[in-house]
């Protein structure tokens, strides 16, 4: 897989039974890339390790006063340089490619998983985990998977060099071959503590960033009422904690750096001491001594890969575990369904509450308990989070339809619909019947001022449909967000549209106009609105009062508001005293009438 061919047409089915299995699955799926990286790595590291021989040969040539051999060594050096440059560049290219393809594959797997899980992800723990894997873990996973082949190449090179030194100069070679493993492995015991401290530092930094962004997010509140110094002090403390944690972590890393200087240095002294002895006895040449010394210097380069792989593994292990857990999440209900994928039509009926929404009419549902209303609205769409008696559409149980068909038939707009970021055009481009134009829907939902506000904030004011909505529509007010979400639902134009408190943040003037607009646009289609606003209720063909899980009254607004005290209590917001009072007044009226 090359970078330009990404994304994968199909990222495959991951082995998510455990973290290590997932890592192994990723590595196995890029075996070609891993082998390429190994081959280029070998060329690179071996060529780098050959440089000391060139240095030694040159020195020896000079000692022997041979210009020809010096020139030949120059040629060898040029060859080495060429191989190093080639190996380095292509090792880097293949390694980065492995990293990117692994990271892209995991990101794609996550995107697919998130799309399948959909509403099941609203449990916050799971949602947070998916995002954590995508933002932090993918990099670490990619790093380890990529580093495997690079490490293998470096390890092989170290072995090759030791063997070569043993053959080239057995007496000194033995010292180097014995000393190198110690040098390579000595800092490993320090690494876990260093990575722990680094993690702790990151945690502190995350906390400080959270405090800062939280303070900024609430800055208008803070500037409006005071307390800036309180929050600044708090942030300063957090920021200083980050600094202390970072310095503590740096202490460990600087200790590692010192050890990494000291140990090769000690080996070098041993080599010099023993080497000079050998040289004086005439058992080795000066050039050979310089070669061995220089080799020890250069070998620190491939040896770095030993630490790196250890770190990559300790960082990536928890990441891989989390990724495997996320990728093995499943939906609680069966999304395939047991019936065909034909979209049913007719009356919407809920046997559990007795709620009936006749086909083609606007039904308003009044429910004193907003949580119960939310659950009922969710059930009306079929496939709810917790299984229950299924809602029937034209006599067909929605829960038995494939999930996609049920969602096509009934669109439930919950209390907190999310506006996805992108241009307004993209926002409104949802799977739809095609019978309702964006203009009509925006007009019905009274979005004129939203378009103006968007145009004001955009770079290009010419094309209002091209203006950008920021994430969750945060740049808009609550009422503006609600109206855009309503317009989006109207465009979809489903068989049945269920709206849960669609105008709770909209002012009364606008709400009255929306009520007319929605009614006009949904003429002849089935619509269910959960609301307690008289302005919407007044426009409904049929108003249903749900109390404690059952339908207790059906009628029209003007009728119910007079005849049904429970209804009046919800929609007119009268207090208990007022309720008593109006009850008394009504009795008086009735007495007068009868009199």
């Amino acid at each position: 897989m090359q970078i330009q061919d990404l994304p994968y047409p199909d990222p495959g089915v991951p082995d998510a039974r455990s973290g290590p299995r997932f890592l192994w699955w990723l590595a196995r799926n890029q075996l070609g890339g891993q082998l390429k990286s190994l081959a280029w790595g070998l060329l690179h590291f071996v060529a780098v390790s050959a440089l000391p021989f060139c240095v030694g040969l040159s020195v020896q040539a000079v000692v022997d006063r041979s210009g020809t051999r010096l020139a030949l060594t120059g040629g060898l050096l040029a060859l080495c340089a060429f191989c190093i440059a080639l190996g380095d560049t292509f090792l880097h290219r293949t390694a980065v490619t492995n990293w990117i393809t692994a990271a892209a594959r995991v990101q794609q797997l996550l995107a697919r998983k998130a799309a399948v899980l959909g509403s099941a992800l609203t449990r916050r723990v799971a949602a947070g985990e998916v995002v954590a894997v995508s933002t932090g873990d993918v990099e670490k996973i990619g790093w380890f998977v990529e580093a495997v082949s690079r490490f293998t190449a470096a390890a092989l090179t170290v072995v090759v060099v030791c063997v070569a030194l043993l053959l080239y100069q057995p007496a000194l070679g033995v010292v180097v071959a014995a000393g190198l493993p110690v040098v390579a492995l000595a800092v490993l015991p320090l690494l876990p503590r260093a990575t722990r401290r680094a993690d702790f530092q990151r945690e502190k930094a995350g906390r400080a960033t959270e405090l800062a962004s939280d303070t900024v997010a609430g800055l208008r509140v803070l500037r409006g009422i005071g307390g800036e110094d309180l929050f600044l002090d708090r942030y300063r403390r957090a920021s200083q904690e980050v600094r202390h944690a970072a310095v503590r972590s740096a202490r460990m890393w600087s200790l590692i750096a010192a050890v990494q200087t000291l140990l090769p240095g000690v080996l070098m002294i041993v080599v010099v001491w023993y080497g000079v002895h050998l040289a004086r006895q005439g058992r080795i040449t000066i050039g050979e001594l310089v070669t061995v010394y220089s080799s020890v210097m250069v070998l620190s380069y491939p040896l770095q890969n030993f630490h790196e792989i250890a770190m990559a593994y300790s960082f990536s292990r928890p990441s891989a575990k989390r990724a495997a857990r996320v990728l093995s999440l499943e939906r609680a209900t069966d999304t395939e369904g047991v019936r065909g994928a034909d979209v049913p039509s007719g009356d919407l009926y809920d046997p559990a509450t007795g709620l009936l929404a006749p086909a083609g009419r606007l039904t308003a549902v009044v429910c004193g308990d907003p949580d119960a209303a939310g659950l009922l609205a969710e059930r009306l769409g079929g496939h709810p989070a917790e299984q229950d008696t299924s809602v029937l559409l034209g006599g067909v149980p929605l829960d038995e339809l494939p999930l996609d068909t049920a969602r096509t038939a009934v669109l439930v707009q919950d209390k907190d619909p999310v506006l996805l970021s992108g241009s307004l055009r993209e926002l409104l481009d949802v799977p739809a019947s095609g019978k309702v134009s964006a203009q009509d829907a925006l007009a019905a939902a009274q979005c004129g001022d939203v378009l103006d506000a968007l145009a004001q904030a955009s770079l290009d004011a010419e094309d209002p449909m091209g203006t950008r909505i920021t994430e969750r529509g945060r740049s808009l007010s609550g009422g503006q967000r609600q109206r855009l979400a309503l317009a989006r639902s109207l465009i979809t134009d489903p068989e049945v549209l269920v709206l849960d408190e669609p105008t709770s943040a909209v002012d009364s003037h606008t709400e009255a106009r929306i009520a007319q607009g929605v009614r006009g646009l949904r003429e002849g289609r089935t619509t269910v609105v959960f609301t307690s606003s008289p302005l919407l209720l007044d426009h409904a063909d049929r108003v249903v009062l749900v109390h404690e899980g059952r339908v207790v009254a059906v009628g029209v607004h003007r009728e119910l508001v007079h005849s049904e005290p429970r209804y009046r209590a919800v929609v007119t917001r009268e207090t208990e005293e007022e309720a008593v009072l109006s009850g008394v007044l009504k009795e008086l009226e009735e007495i007068e009438e009868t009199a």
Partner: protein
């Protein structure tokens, strides 16, 4: 492979207008200079320990060269124990100072970074409320997260490492000049190659890395949104589109990865060849010099070893240089906040009385587009004024003007005869508070969330404030009482509880005039009713301007102003307006059935 052109789509290109200024080069330079001055001592210490460590590292090659010379001369006495002790001593010194360099570098970097982020927050919380209202907090938020993040690497690593690298190279070259003067020019043979390669690379690299990072962030952002909008995505059957979007983001990101990989594919061979050329020229030219008898074989050895040592510092400099360039852009964005005038106001200006008055006020957010025209209004102390009218008519804007957040374009808004917009923000808010839908609960203890309104309040006063808004019941039931951690990540509060906290803050801050921008409209009806009782207690005895989205709020007001098209079209009490048979009357009838 002929090369890779930069991708056409740039994820780092701004998508919304910068709502806050970006620092001019002069401002950035001045800030950097100030930062250096503040940390001059730490810099000098870092350079000192670094010098010591590099000097110690030069001892090894120098001693070996000396030994090589004497062995090849056939000298009888090598003083080996002395030489090796020196070697060991130098090594010990080097190890100690290498540790110091790493540590001091990190300490310096961390201190600068802490300064920078704290400075930025200090500036941010000092911004005039009007600027915040207009700019929103989005731009500021992205600066404090994304830009601080980008700068972290630069401050933590790039600045100290570059300082180290430069000193290191200079000292190595100096060492070479001192030990083998004739070889010094041989090192320079490779410089032109390096300069040409680096110029090509650094012209393209910084912006490419910025785009690459933005592209990668966009991949994660697309997924985070899919997750966040799970219900909406499922309800609207957007799953396949979200997958498509994620894959498009992957494609855009990897296109930039491919481009930067190509840039490095040019740079890396240049660097490798530079190192090899340096080594080769030292060995070959030096070899010829030895053969000619101009220098000794020991000097050649020392020179060759130093040439090999140059690899590390040169790589260090190249590695961190582009990080610094990327950081410049982020720094400009952070420093830009300093360019905003803090809006000091006139200290001497103080209100005399509590009556609020607007006189022929005109106001617009943009040139030539007026939101309010010729609005005059008088609110007597203790009265309740309701502003009603359709969305976009200017109600909220008028509310913000009356709360002193914006200054009117023409006309004046006064509190007790003193012009609100010319008073310091801190004084305005001790008299007037704006309460809106934004009931932010800060991350922290419940106590901190209340204390911000009156920082010297004792616990008994905090409980009294909670009691005044009916919130002491649930607050006492919390496990840790006032110490309970709330806000994101802490104990979750319902929107109604969050609103009660906002109201309790008002009780503590105790301003005599309140502007309510439909504080309870986002709540479900039952909670809203409960809250209204709490609110009623808070409002008692204060002047109130309520922006009413709901008519029952208007019904209870002493005076109602209907705002339409930036003007006040009807003004009077509920009964008067109903009797007048205007727009308000029509609305009231449809509401009340």
């Amino acid at each position: 492979m002929i090369g890779v052109a930069p991708p056409a789509y740039d994820p780092a290109a701004p998508k919304t207008a910068n709502t806050l200024p970006v620092g001019a080069p002069a401002t950035v330079r001045a800030y950097v200079a100030e930062l250096f001055r503040r940390h001059r001592r730490a810099f000098l210490v870092l350079i000192g320990v670094n010098t010591a460590s590099v000097m110690a590292s030069l001892v090894g090659p120098w001693l070996l060269g000396d030994l090589v010379q004497r062995v090849s001369d056939g000298a009888r006495e090598l003083h080996l124990p002395l030489v090796l002790s020196l070697f060991a001593l130098a090594l010990a010194v080097q190890a100690v100072f290498v540790r110091e360099v790493r540590l001091r570098g990190a300490m310096l970097g961390e201190r600068m970074l802490a300064d920078l982020r704290e400075d930025f927050l200090v500036r941010s919380v000092g911004l005039p409320p009007g600027v915040l209202e207009r700019a929103g907090t989005g731009d500021l938020l992205s600066r404090i997260t994304t830009d601080i993040d980008r700068l972290a690497n630069a401050m933590r690593e790039a600045v100290p490492q570059l300082a180290i690298g430069v000193v290191w190279v200079v000292l190595l070259l100096g060492g070479l000049v001192v030990t083998v003067p004739p070889l010094a020019p041989a090192v320079l043979v490779a410089v032109p190659l390096l300069v040409v390669g680096c110029r090509w690379y650094y012209k393209r690299a910084p912006s490419a890395y910025r785009s690459e990072a933005a592209g990668y962030a966009a991949v994660a952002a697309a997924l985070a949104e899919t997750v966040d909008a799970g219900r909406t995505v499922e309800a609207h059957r957007l799953g396949d589109r979200r997958i498509e979007l994620s894959e498009r983001r992957v494609r855009e990101w990897t296109a930039w990865e491919r481009y930067t990989l190509w840039l490095r594919s040019v740079l890396f061979p240049v660097i490798t060849l530079t190192h090899a050329t340096v080594l080769a020229s030292v060995l070959m030219i030096g070899g010829v010099f030895v053969l000619r008898g101009w220098i000794g074989v020991g000097q050649l050895t020392t020179g060759a070893l130093i040439a090999q040592m140059l690899v590390d510092p040169v790589n260090l400099i190249l590695r961190w240089y582009d990080e610094l360039q990327v950081a410049q852009v982020s720094l400009a964005r952070l420093v830009g906040v300093r360019d905003i005038e803090p809006g000091a106001g006139e200290e001497s200006l103080a209100p005399d009385g509590r009556d609020v008055r607007a006189e022929r006020v005109r106001f617009g957010y943009r040139e030539g587009v007026d939101v309010l025209r010729q609005v005059s209004l008088e609110v007597a102390p203790g009265t309740r004024l309701a502003l009603v009218g359709p969305s976009g008519a200017g109600k909220s804007t008028l509310g913000r003007l009356l709360a002193g957040i914006y200054a009117p374009g023409d006309g004046r808004i006064t509190l007790g005869g003193a012009e609100l917009s010319r008073m310091p923000a801190e004084r305005v808010r001790s008299h007037v508070a704006l309460v809106n839908q934004e009931h932010h609960v800060f991350v922290g203890s419940l106590r901190d969330n209340l204390l911000l309104a009156r920082t010297d309040a004792v616990d008994a006063e905090l409980w009294a404030a909670l009691g005044a808004v009916d919130a002491d019941g649930w607050a006492r039931a919390l496990d840790d009482g006032l110490d309970t951690e709330v806000g994101s990540g802490g104990t979750a509060l319902t929107p109604a509880q969050a609103q009660q906290i906002a109201l309790a803050r008002l009780v503590l801050a105790d301003p005599h005039t309140l502007v309510l921008d439909e504080a309870t409209s986002l709540l479900d009806p039952r909670a809203a009713r409960h809250l209204e009782r709490s609110l009623a207690r808070v409002l008692d005895g204060r002047t109130v301007v309520a922006i009413a989205h709901r008519l029952h709020t208007a019904h209870d007001a002493d005076v109602i102003a209907v705002v339409e098209n930036g003007r006040i079209s009807e003004l009077g009490s509920h009964d008067e307006l109903v009797a007048a048979e205007g727009a308000y009357a029509a609305l009231w009838r449809s509401w009340h059935g």
